[in-house]
């Protein structure tokens, strides 16, 4: 089932140049989709279109069966899709952590007892429980981002967009967010669309979409997309380091599997190659 459907989707900021031009795109419910592309490729604009923050110049976007241009469904669309942006400073509204997370449920008219539960759950999900009484402006960038994510989770949306939400985090923080994202996706069945420059994050998705000049140029599971290194580099993207190493080794004349994304896969492939070589000798 599709959670988001877009058809003949065009968007232009200035009325002449289309920043996004996509004939057809479906985002499946419950799946984790990653959108890759260099700066200016139109991926953030696409995310804003798919979540109803921007309205198409022409064409149509249907979110959770609501047309995003239908003003009477404005709140339903907002409730179904949350978005976590790159810079949490743009997203944090309150001066105390727990008040910030409570902002959305308060506005949704949820009873106070339940709000407290939600706030606790959400802060726990991003590992910020001990900071619940701290002031938001004194937090580090990574901590702020975790609060912003908790604030979105507190709306209990069906779909969450992450627009480079891990860009400011340290590796551990990034891992925590990634596992939180994974939990949302796998355990709560929340549809996840993540926009990222980190290839290591994209490889964890069910599906990878690559954008260039407002168009979708690659679309498939991570293995198939990352098996085309030249194409990806042509679109200004880098490969995960092991994938790049394997690509060079292939050029050096070694027959190794393609589309290797993870450290363990790479180690297995190298071990097998060495074993094969030794067997052939003996």
């Amino acid at each position: 089932m599709n959670f988001i459907e877009a058809e003949n989707l065009k968007f232009s900021y200035d009325g002449t140049n289309n920043v996004v031009d996509i004939p057809k795109l479906f985002i499946e419910k419950g799946k984790h989709t990653a959108i890759l592309g260099h700066n200016g490729s139109g991926k953030s604009t696409l995310a804003k279109l798919l979540s109803g923050i921007l309205l198409p110049t022409s064409g149509k976007v249907v979110v959770n069966s609501y047309d995003t241009t239908d003003e009477s469904k404005f709140y339903d669309i907002r409730k179904s899709c949350g978005m976590v942006f790159q810079n949490p400073d743009n997203q944090i509204v309150a001066s105390v952590v727990e008040e910030d997370v409570a902002f959305a449920p308060e506005n949704l008219g949820i009873i106070p007892v339940r709000i407290r539960e939600i706030v606790e759950e959400c802060l726990f999900a991003v590992n910020m429980t001990e900071y619940s009484r701290h002031s938001t402006y004194k937090l580090s960038g990574g901590q702020k981002q975790r609060v912003a994510i908790a604030g979105i989770l507190a709306m209990q949306p069906e779909c969450v967009f992450f627009d480079e939400a891990t860009a400011m985090l340290d590796p551990i923080g990034r891992k925590e967010i990634m596992s939180a994202v994974d939990r949302l996706n796998k355990e709560l069945g929340i549809t996840v669309v993540s926009i990222t420059h980190y290839m290591n994050e994209a490889v964890e998705a069910d599906r990878v979409i690559v954008m260039n000049k407002g168009e979708i140029v690659m679309d498939g599971d991570p293995v198939s997309v990352f098996s085309m290194p030249e194409e990806l580099q042509g679109y200004g993207l880098a490969l995960p380091q092991v994938t790049e190493l394997f690509y060079h080794l292939e050029k050096d004349g070694y027959k190794l599997p393609r589309g290797v994304l993870h450290t363990m896969q790479a180690a297995d492939a190298i071990e097998n190659y060495v074993k094969g070589k030794n067997d052939a000798r003996s």
């Binding site: 592309g37 200016g40 860009a167 880098a238 450290t263 190298i270």
Partner: protein, 289 residues
Amino acid sequence: MMHAVELQNVTVVYGSGTPLEKTALKDISLKIEEGSVVGLIGHTGSGKSTLVKLLNGLQKPFSGKVSILSEDVWKDPKRMRWVRGKVGLVFQYPEYQLFEETVYADIAFGPKNMGFTGEELDKTVRSAAKFCGLDDSVLLRSPFEISGGQKRRAAIAGVIAMNPKVLVLDEPAAGLDPRGRTNILDGLMEYKKQTGSTMIIVSHSMEDIAKYCDYIYVLKDGSLMMEGSAATIFSNAEGLFEAGLDVPQITKLFIELKKRGLVERTDIYTINKARQLMNSLLGGESDAK
């Protein structure tokens, strides 16, 4: 040799005497050689940003001494202006600090206030823009109408235009795509090469740190936990994990291969080195071990 930066037993405490008192840096001593590229890494909240703020006098140490180019930063308050001119600080997301009507005017703001005028000013602005990969065509546009990557470049150019002897960059490439990262960092290296200035880079990207830095400091909970060359630091993967950090993916691969008895070395952090070693491992010569 003169040291670009020297910290002697520096401690920083926030909210001293209040219930929220927090020691951000504990007894840090370090010396950064002139002309080197130094990486500063640490988990979120490890004190990196506090350390960076010490370097141009935005943060006063609770105890200890901060020296820039052999001069005590806090000795004479009137010299602070001199310190700020010598140490260029590029904050995280510097593009939020753009404010002028044109990119040119924004880059010119710093040098103008330092007394540059006429041709000298023009030359400074254009050369700073060039180091940051900004075309002349961008200079007359509004900094609010250009792309995110260009904004970042414009903001960094504004700091470079003051010709700092020590350039401190807090996550200069965060949020940029791989091509943008390489372009900005390569441009900064070019600036360093041509001017002989010292660079201090704060980053969460272990790959970038491994690629560009001569020397690396690792902070953990406000203390200096490790220091050394990239090879030394990344061969101590366990220490880094303990500090809440990571090693480049390629290093992880070698750690795993060592576990399986296929290689001996784990101090590998660039693709080229890995490729060389893999060639000797896979190609029949067993001296990869």
